[in-house]
Subunit: 292 residues, 2 copies
């Protein structure tokens, strides 16, 4: 469910229920999987909050939907669900352990460890976007300095480029021409286009972003030693400069004895939908084991 502007938790839930009923068309589901864009307590079926929509603080979404839809409801946050989707149906098939990273407006992540989602003791695992790669770096939204997200998220890549264009009149000629000096309109897509045409400033911006993400991934590899890291999200579509920068940054950060592949995620924006199915499958498999 995409939350429209000015929505709140109540209208969102009403829309979720209406949409589910429409899709079910009178059929009785055995269980329902939900991917939520914010911190979630999977075991308790509780949404902690949404960073974008008001009213989601400590909402028992599972119970609410179970009452309305008369079926067990499993919820998890979108990065965890996407990781599970990629593991079960996407580019992570055949790997028992992987880190999925989404590089979009923000930078999020989810783990599969030993074939299962790894959520941490507070459902907060996977926050690679807020690992620090430069304690003296620029300030991030979260209050800290030099987070991966501060360098590699679409929001900050574009913001830094716009500021650099204003500060350095001699740089970014190709990018300036491309946007006809409408600096405010610049986003990562336009930056990628300018970089592909050889724009110095755009290339440098993507390299900086990619290297910071690479350091974060290399650190994750040193800590957990997964065989596979999958990257999804809009920023990963900015081209070879970005991918080379990420791989090089990760390679330079991890120990030489540590090996891993960094590959594009396979399911695109559908990863959470497939992951929600996998959540239900896991639930049904567990119930069968328990009743056996």
């Amino acid at each position: 469910v995409f939350a429209p502007p000015n929505s709140n938790a109540e209208t969102d839930i009403r829309q979720m229920v209406a949409l589910a009923k429409e899709m079910l068309a009178g059929e009785q589901p055995c269980a329902i999987g939900v991917s939520f864009g914010g911190p979630v307590d999977h075991d308790r079926g509780l949404v902690h909050l949404s960073h974008h929509v008001p009213g989601w603080e400590n909402i028992r979404l599972s119970s609410l939907l179970e009452t309305k839809l008369s079926a067990p409801v499993l919820i998890d946050n979108d990065a965890n669900v996407a990781a599970l989707g990629e593991h079960r149906y996407g580019a992570g098939r055949g790997y028992q352990t992987l880190l999925y990273v989404t590089v979009s407006t923000g930078v999020g992540g989810g783990w599969i460890i030993n074939g299962q989602p790894w959520r941490g003791h507070e459902n907060m695992a996977g926050e690679i976007g807020h690992t620090v790669v430069d304690p003296q770096g620029p300030r991030c939204l979260c209050g800290k300095r030099g987070c991966v997200e501060r360098f590699a998220s679409g929001r900050y890549i574009a913001q830094d480029v716009r500021e650099e264009l204003s500060a350095s009149p001699g740089k970014g000629e190709i990018l300036r021409a491309l946007v006809q000096d409408q600096i405010a309109s610049i986003d990562t897509k336009l930056i990628a286009e300018a970089a592909a045409r050889g724009d110095d400033l755009a290339i440098e911006a993507l390299k900086t972003a990619a290297r910071a993400l690479g350091v974060g991934i290399g650190n994750a590899a040193n800590l957990i030693n997964p065989p596979l890291i999958l990257l999804g999200g809009g920023v990963t579509k900015t081209g070879d400069i970005f991918w080379e920068g990420v791989r090089q940054g990760a390679r330079m950060t991890s120990l030489p004895e540590i090996h891993f592949e960094i590959e594009p995620a396979g399911l695109g924006d559908d990863a959470p939908l497939w992951g929600a199915i996998a959540l239900v499958e896991n639930y049904l498999a567990n119930s069968m084991t328990q009743s056996a």
Copy 2:
């Protein structure tokens, strides 16, 4: 088994066997656990190498000892084994997930995830010492810049202090007096003593080391969200300045929604010995399950 100077793999193994036979005094063990100070392939019973003793490259230590001692032999590297020991018998009892970090000549680490050692796909997990906390920082032994180990290990704390004393004649008065200008004799114990007496340079050195380790721990908390981080090793005995710096660095690096305790390990130098017992217990429990 402590390796004497000029030892090699062959003499080490001979000594291990002799010691084991002496301890067993004719009794037949059901299994033997071994903690090895270097990278080990636990599943294959293979030592990859020792960074200190020659001749250990790709030695099948399990098979060699099994032949000599007529019992199944389980091996793992010392940080993993210490983590397991702390989990089963030490300060980590009651926690299903923890990170154990040893801060000694180098900085190593081992994970317990869901009650079991987490080794990674190449037995290389837990390398928090070589996570990068400052990509522009000083060069580490491993070749990279700004690793946790480069700032927080005993070797580098002492090296940096000695260099700083030589470079800045006006600083470190208390430390200089303490060592009677024998700068080469300075180690972390002397630095801790000088810091406790108020030496400016020693205090700054411990703070720098502690903060870097704290950033590494905070990043690990963001990625894996464990409830507990245990610290062992000589450097952790340098006092409150160190512990406060580590906790502050970790707190400043992890997201506000992420909570964890940083506590002293409980078993000291015996952690790997207790962990070796736990390795054997795990093995025996598994064999019983399989034969049941």
